[in-house]
């Protein structure tokens, strides 16, 4: 089986969507990312990533929740699909395998 390749930014966005749960849409994801990572994240980048991951089937979306502050426009809420979750676990597993393969002395050198 061909593994799904997740880019670093994709992985982070996907994780954020998973963290936010019901409340995940463009704005919250951007803000959450900024707060959690401390780096400035472009909204357009987040939006494009979300779109792309939906196309890949990692995310699914539905419209809902119009509020006055958005001029009555609805939000597109994203949720992680089963495929998305699988991709995340795989990435995590790969990371863990890699960490585990690290010799203990190197780990010590790194100050872990």
């Amino acid at each position: 089986m061909k593994r799904t390749f997740l880019g670093e930014f994709e992985e982070v966005v996907l994780l954020t969507v998973a963290i936010l749960g019901e409340e995940a849409y463009g704005v919250t994801v951007t803000q959450e990312l900024e707060q959690k990572t401390g780096r400035s994240v472009g909204f357009s980048t987040v939006h494009t990533t979300l779109q792309r991951m939906e196309e890949k089937g990692l995310l699914s979306s539905k419209m809902g929740g119009a509020t006055a502050e958005r001029g009555g426009r609805r939000k597109r809420f994203f949720t992680v699909t089963a495929f998305g979750r699988k991709a995340l676990t795989e990435v995590k597993q790969v990371r863990e395998e890699l960490w585990n393969a690290l010799p203990p002395q190197t780990l010590q050198l790194m100050g872990g």
Partner: protein, 877 residues
């Protein structure tokens, strides 16, 4: 998290407008909504965290990055489109339509009834037309079948004749290679057939051996090739076979006695001829056999039978026509005069609908009625549609609020048009069901009236096609204007309550009423004129007295023993005079051109109608003599004498006609008397020159008897007794001249009756509409009437006020429709050589009728409105 965020409500807190515009134009339309919202939210966030400039910059940057100028809308986000034909909306349309129907029962009733009547009329007329067109369409070779008619040129005039010389059929076949088969076809006559003690009169005709090969009449026994092969062959119908022999099988090959004179052999039995055939006969004799009995049929100069022929499959009709044109030049038809008779042909399938000869062309006939009634069908349907349009627009005030609300919540014009069209079609569906029921109900009486056998062709897909077509056309015509009108209303004005019908729609409505009444008036005028003409024709003084004049054929022994018959009949108390003539007194269509006189132009060719008569002919017929005397036994020379009519006198140009010579073929004689013109043919044709000779050597044709009025029954019984005694092998059949005369105008009578019904229906439907409009107006003006009454208006004044508007419209309709009606009816009357004058009172009567009916219709409502208690109408508000 989000609730903490500040709302970017103030003007300064909104992002640059042009950037937003750019976004809405060029961003991916599929995600525009959420992107737009998200960006707005982000802008607020950026504003909070970095200030206005930074927020603006970031906003701009994001927008630029999100522009997708080539993205196409694939996932529909336009909600109005989705909902146009959603189940809910369609359900809603139906619900509203039905509620509206039920809510205004009067108007729905008027609409449905009017449309149903209109459609029933149209449907009936369509069925009739379909039936008319289907006549003679069953012949398999119909594309190759033609009939001959002649064009006679003389003295610069041309005259068309359908009767052809007897030998023509055989000659055509011989000399034109493209012509495959030909047959003469005589006029049907009633002949006596007997077998044992069975004696029946049968409609008999004669045709050549090709007949059954050319025409598709189903043979139960025998083959088309052998059906009329020998001079004594006889093809009989199934019913004739059953009458004489019990069954078609038993009849074939048997002999049957013809006119108690000779035996004919049954060589074929054909299925009874249905209504869809122009040629009708009980039995057909072989043509050669017919010629043996009728010497004149060998003669080129006498014209009597019709001639039909069939061209080869690959032949070009135009070439055939060119070839036959001068065919007659070879034959000495005019005894030495220059020949000017040309032959022309008409496709056989056009024969039924186009049987009139105008000048020298086959033109008109029943096709005119087909056209007339098609027009009537369209008229009536249009009147019904106008009712619908009128009522719907008049009542638009009631629907206006609905339209307003629908528009406000986002209905587009196309949706409203669809809705109202749908309603019209729904109503039309109700009406068409009702219309089909009505047609099914009246079709038996319609068949009696028109002498047809029309059935509702429920099992033919074409019928359902016609119904569907009628439904769509009616629904569309009736529904289009209201739909476009209602959907064009401005919601703001409606909902403000400022809705008023503008003058344009009032004008249109009034125009429609005028149009509707105009059509009705045309139909009424038509009805009056047709009735008058038919009445005129039936009661016209024909120049002879057709009442109390009976005639019966001189056949079998009656012909031989005419003197005895004459003597015995004269003894009968009720009998005034007895004579005989070669034709029927009501109709004599025969013709000859072989008459010459001194000083006559040999190039001139005049068709005379010959008739052989007995002594006392003038007295029996009650004719007037202008000059000379009747044939008399006291003058022996009268056996070669002639009686002519005024028309003939004019042709010959004799100043003192008595004693002047006339020559008919080889028979030379002198004129003994001049008859005042009388009609011996139907009034469709003008009086032709008549030449009467004394036919006392052989008594052919009919005995004519003038009987006393009021003694018909006993006189007839006495006559029958004498005939039975003298002629036991023939059944006694007689005819009344007046009835036979009236029979010639059968189609006019049918048309007269039908036009009565249709005119009545048209005016009825128009009045339904008028009634609806009057009801509506009265309803709308309730308050005005109340105020008027309070201020002292009388009931009469109010009725006048309400009726005036409508009467004005009817008056305009009269003015417009009268010339049109005059033109149309004048055209119809052209078909008669003797016709009534169209007079002004006919239009006056039609106008008065429509005014009266309109007044009666409108006043019902206006009186009701005028009598209403003003307290009631003014109480509310």
């Amino acid at each position: 998290m989000m609730t903490e965020r500040r709302n970017p409500t103030s003007e300064s807190a909104s992002p640059p407008r042009w950037v937003t515009k750019l976004l809405t134009w060029l961003a991916d339309p599929r995600t525009l909504e959420e992107v737009h919202g998200d960006l707005l939210e982000m802008y607020g966030y950026w504003l909070q965290t970095g200030g206005k400039r930074k927020a603006n910059r970031r906003y701009m940057l994001s927008v630029f990055k999100l522009l997708r100028p080539f993205a196409r809308r694939t996932r529909s986000t336009d909600d109005s489109k989705i909902h146009l034909f959603s189940r809910d909306m369609i359900q809603n349309y139906f619900k509203i339509a039905l509620r509206n129907l039920v809510k205004s029962k009067t108007f729905s009733g008027i609409n449905v009834l009017g449309l149903a009547l209109g459609m029933a009329c149209s449907l009936l007329i369509m069925l009739w037309i379909k039936d008319e067109l289907s006549i003679d369409a069953f012949h398999a070779n119909k594309q190759q079948l033609y009939r001959i008619y002649m064009r006679e040129y003389f003295s610069g005039k041309v005259q068309g004749v359908v009767w052809t010389p007897g030998p023509l059929a055989a000659e055509l076949k011989k000399s034109v290679p493209e012509i495959e088969m030909t047959t003469p076809y005589e006029w049907v006559s009633s002949e006596t057939f007997s077998l044992g003690d069975k004696i029946h009169k049968q409609q008999t005709n004669a045709a050549s051996a090709d007949f059954f090969k050319m025409f598709t009449y189903k043979l139960l026994q025998g083959t088309p090739a052998a059906a009329l092969k020998d001079p004594n062959s006889l093809a009989i119908s199934r019913s004739m076979a059953e009458n004489f022999f019990g069954s078609p099988e038993a009849a074939i090959g048997k002999a049957i006695r013809f006119n108690n004179r000779k035996d004919l052999m049954v060589t074929a039995v054909f299925e009874n001829i249905g209504q869809n055939s122009t040629l009708k006969f009980d039995c057909l004799r072989n043509w050669e056999g017919f010629v043996e009995d009728n010497d004149w049929a060998k003669d080129w100069g006498t014209t009597d039978p019709l001639t039909f022929f069939m061209i080869r499959n690959d032949a070009d009709p135009a070439k055939v026509e060119a070839k036959i044109k001068h065919l007659l030049d070879k034959y000495n038809r005019d005894q030495g005069k220059p020949f000017k008779t040309q032959l022309a042909m008409q496709p056989f399938h056009e024969y039924y609908l186009n049987s009139n000869i105008k000048d020298a062309h086959m033109d008109g006939g029943r096709i005119e009625y087909v056209r007339l009634f098609s027009l009537v069908a369209v008229f009536i349907l249009l009147i019904a549609c106008i009712n619908f349009m009128n009522l719907a627009t008049a009542r638009s005030a009631k629907r206006a609020k609905e339209v307003g609300v629908r528009k406000v919540v986002g209905a587009m014009r196309s949706m409203l048009v669809g809705q109202f069209m749908g309603e019209a079609i729904l109503l039309t569906i109700f009406s068409i069901v009702l219309a089909v029921l009505m047609v099914a109900l009246v079709i038996p009486s319609f068949n009696v009236l028109t002498e047809k056998q029309i059935t509702l062709p429920l099992y033919q897909p074409s019928f359902w096609g016609i119904l569907a077509g009628l439904l769509l056309v009616t629904g569309f015509v009736a529904g289009s204007y209201p739909a476009f009108f209602l959907s064009s209303l401005n919601p703001v004005r409606i909902l403000k309550g400022a809705f008023k019908l503008d003058t344009k729609s009032t004008w249109l409505r009034q125009g429609l009423v005028v149009f509707q009444f105009g059509l009705s008036i045309i139909l009424i005028v038509g009805m009056i004129i047709i009735y008058q003409q038919v009445d005129f024709v039936q009661h016209k003084n024909l120049g002879y007295d057709r009442e109390n004049l009976i005639y019966f054929p001189l056949e079998g022994d009656l012909s031989k023993n005419y003197e005895v018959l004459h003597a015995e009949l004269s003894q009968v108390p009720g009998v005034k005079q007895v004579s005989h003539m070669t034709s029927s007194p009501a109709s004599n269509g025969s013709g000859t051109e072989g008459i010459s006189w001194t000083g006559g132009d040999p190039n001139d060719k005049v068709r005379f109608t010959p008739v052989g008569v007995g002594y006392d002919f003038v007295k029996t017929m009650n004719l007037k003599l202008v000059d000379g005397r009747d044939f008399s036994k006291t003058f022996a020379t009268d056996s070669t004498g002639f009686l002519i009519n005024e028309a003939a006198l004019k042709v010959t140009g004799y100043k003192n006609p008595i004693g002047k010579p006339l020559k008919w073929g080889n028979r030379e004689g002198r004129i003994v008397g001049v008859l005042k013109d009388f009609h011996f043919q139907s009034l469709h044709s003008s009086i032709r020159p008549l030449i009467a000779y004394l036919g006392v050597k052989e008594h052919h044709g009919n005995a004519i008897i003038r009987i006393e009025a009021g003694k018909t029954v006993e006189t007839l019984a006495a006559i029958e007794k004498i005939c039975k005694k003298l002629n036991p092998t023939f059944p006694f059949t007689y005819s009344f001249t007046d009835q036979e005369y009236a029979r010639q105008y059968q189609s006019e009578q049918v048309v007269s009756k039908l036009s009565n019904y249709f005119a009545f229906l048209a005016i009825f439907i128009s009045c339904l509409g008028l009634f609806g409009l009057a009801t509506f107006t009265a309803e709308q003006r309730t308050k005005e009437i109340g105020v008027r009454k309070v201020l002292g208006a009388s009931v009469g004044g109010i009725v006048g006020l309400l009726s005036k508007d409508f009467l004005k419209l009817v008056a305009i309709a009269i003015v417009i429709a009268s010339p049109l009606a005059w033109w149309l009816m004048n055209k119809w009357l052209q078909g008669f050589a003797y016709k009534i004058e169209i007079e002004w009172w006919m239009f006056g009567l039609a106008g008065l009728l429509s005014v009266l009916i309109a007044v009666a219709t409108v006043s019902f409502q206006s009186i009701k409105a005028a009598l209403m208690n003003p307290v009631k109408s003014l109480r509310s508000e």
